[in-house]
């Protein structure tokens, strides 16, 4: 029987191509405006310039915000990897009562509106008279980021062969040595994958930051948002490209580290 390419198959592939176009073209278009020299957003592009990138890096508000975002994201990356990985270990191994409910509880920041997490933290800082310090922002981001690390680490622990640890213990390794030489290397990919999510979640975080930043101490997404309320030019496009490049850079960097390790193992 000859397979014919029917209307259905054409519709199926055409539809999916259109959906992929819808998904990806808006991001591609940003890169066009980042190098288009017109003073406002105009289509089609008329030339090529790096002036918008220059404007971005010459603007102290943007550069400060970029630095702050990076510093906060790195702090969140470290904190959430530590807290998330330990929690995942306890959840998978600790024989805790109500393990399932506890896991769901730790996942809840992902489902509850982040804007409410921001509002709630804003109110408690207000009542406690803390003000809006950077560490308060870091803690807010960490609460949102920890669930990702817990989830990815639990996924690795679910496929973990515990006999490896038992073998190490039988061969005379103490619990600390077993942890650092067997357990940790094996769960590392999960922790690092969670860390990648944590970094990006913090770097792109908006609703929590909105409530917790102070004027002149805003993160990049908040600065971009405030700029976009009044101005829509190539500087925003350039800033977008810079932040996409940074996020991508971190993903590739961490992916490369794990990827290389996986390659060395087999």
């Amino acid at each position: 029987m000859r397979r014919k390419v029917g209307f259905g198959a054409v519709a199926y592939w055409g539809l999916n191509a259109a959906i992929l176009f819808f998904l990806l073209s808006p991001i591609a278009i940003v890169s066009v405006f980042a190098v288009n020299p017109t003073p406002y957003i105009a289509f089609p592009p008329v030339g090529f310039t790096f002036a918008w990138f220059a404007k971005f890096f010459a603007n102290p508000d943007f550069v400060h915000a970029l630095w702050l975002s990076l510093k906060v994201a790195v702090a969140v990356l470290v904190l959430s990897m530590l807290i998330g990985a330990t929690a995942a270990m306890a959840l998978a191994r600790g024989e805790l009562p109500g393990r399932r409910a506890l896991t769901a509880f730790f996942m809840s920041p992902l489902m509850l509106p982040a804007i409410l997490t921001g509002l709630a933290l804003f109110q408690i800082y207000l009542l406690a008279g803390i003000g809006r310090p950077v560490w308060g922002l870091v803690m807010g981001h960490t609460v949102i980021a920890v669930p990702y690390v817990i989830r990815t680490t639990l996924a690795v622990l679910a496929n973990f062969d515990r006999r490896l640890e038992e073998a190490a213990a039988l061969l005379g390794a103490g619990p600390v040595r077993v942890f650092f030489e067997v357990t940790l290397p094996l769960i590392r990919p999960g922790v690092i994958a969670g860390g990648i999510f944590a970094f990006i979640v913090s770097f792109d975080q908006f609703p929590v930051s909105l409530f917790l930043v102070v004027p002149k101490g805003e993160t990049l997404p908040v600065v971009l948002f405030n700029y976009m309320k009044f101005d829509l030019d190539g500087a925003i496009a350039a800033a977008s490209m810079v932040s996409i490049a940074l996020a991508l850079g971190v993903v590739i960097l961490l992916e490369w580290i794990i990827g290389l390790r996986a390659y060395l193992k087999f």
Partner: protein, 280 residues
């Protein structure tokens, strides 16, 4: 091993549970206890909300935008999730997955900016339509609910695709083949077999996207202009310009109540699906 749970528990107690409890208490207080010494318990913030048409309209607009976003995300997400779940080559699957995840790695502010450049009066779509002679005046594609829903759909489709792809992938392809060998067309086999079996995924994905889109702030603000007022926008307004943390708290509690219902439903659906694993 057990004690390793403590850092996370401490973090969540101090920076999640306690703040939300404070949020709830604030919504019931007559003033800010820091600078108003005589505060008492009151329901007046909730009464204010439910007796003013402006606020009820904002709640309705929030739900309406959430519903329409969910519907369009489902319509766009299903075919892509199906393709992703049924992709035979590993490279094709990886590339598709990357295409779905790439937009998620781009911040909400950046993605909203992209839609502003596409939909504004001098934007890509209007310029192209005018150049082609399809229309003389630019179409009003943003600063309204339409633009808001388009951008929100773009932002939340990946969540829908990832949820659906997992469920569709678990539907045994041989069932569809059996239906086809019994004489069903490809479309009939899909409609009668795969589609009903993926219903839990449709429900879970829809609840997720709905919960996410009713709490959106940036996109309704920038894409909606003065035409759109949603609950999250009201909340920030109360904090930033009206300086009324108590009414903001009440608005927060109302949004929280809606979200909790959705989260619990989502968990029930997923638990039914995987035999009781819930959010994990």
């Amino acid at each position: 091993m057990r004690w390793l749970i403590w850092p996370a528990l401490l973090l969540f107690a101090l920076f999640f549970v306690l703040p939300f409890a404070v949020l709830g208490v604030m919504s019931l207080l007559s003033g800010n206890p820091v600078n108003a010494p005589a505060v008492n318990l009151t329901l007046r913030h909730f009464q204010r909300f439910f007796s003013d048409d402006l606020y009820l309209e904002a709640l309705w607009a929030t739900l309406r935008i959430g519903l329409l976003t969910t519907l369009s995300a489902l319509l766009l997400g299903y075919p892509l999730a199906h393709l992703l779940a049924r992709a035979r080559s590993r490279v094709g699957h990886a590339l598709l997955l990357m295409a779905v995840i790439a937009p998620m790695l781009t911040g909400i502010v950046v993605r909203t900016f992209a839609w502003m450049t596409l939909l504004q009066d001098r934007g890509v779509i209007n310029t192209t339509l005018i150049a082609l002679g399809v229309t003389r005046e630019p179409l009003k594609l943003m600063y309204n609910e339409f633009g808001t829903i388009v951008a929100l759909t773009h932002i939340y489709v990946p969540f829908m695709v990832l949820t659906l792809a997992g469920v569709i992938g678990r539907v045994d392809e041989r069932l569809e083949e059996a239906a086809r060998s019994l004489g069903a067309t490809r479309w009939q086999a899909f409609r009668e077999v795969t589609l009903p079996l993926s219903l839990p995924g449709i429900l879970a994905g829809s609840l997720l996207v709905f919960a996410l889109s009713i709490s959106a702030y940036v996109t309704p603000f920038l894409m909606g202009g003065t035409d759109v007022l949603t609950l999250p926008m009201l909340i920030y307004q109360q904090v930033s310009s009206s300086f009324n943390p108590n009414f903001a708290g009440a608005l927060g509690v109302i949004l929280l109540a809606v979200s909790l219902v959705l989260v619990i439903a989502y968990n029930k659906v997923l638990a039914g699906l995987s035999g009781g694993e819930g959010l994990s």
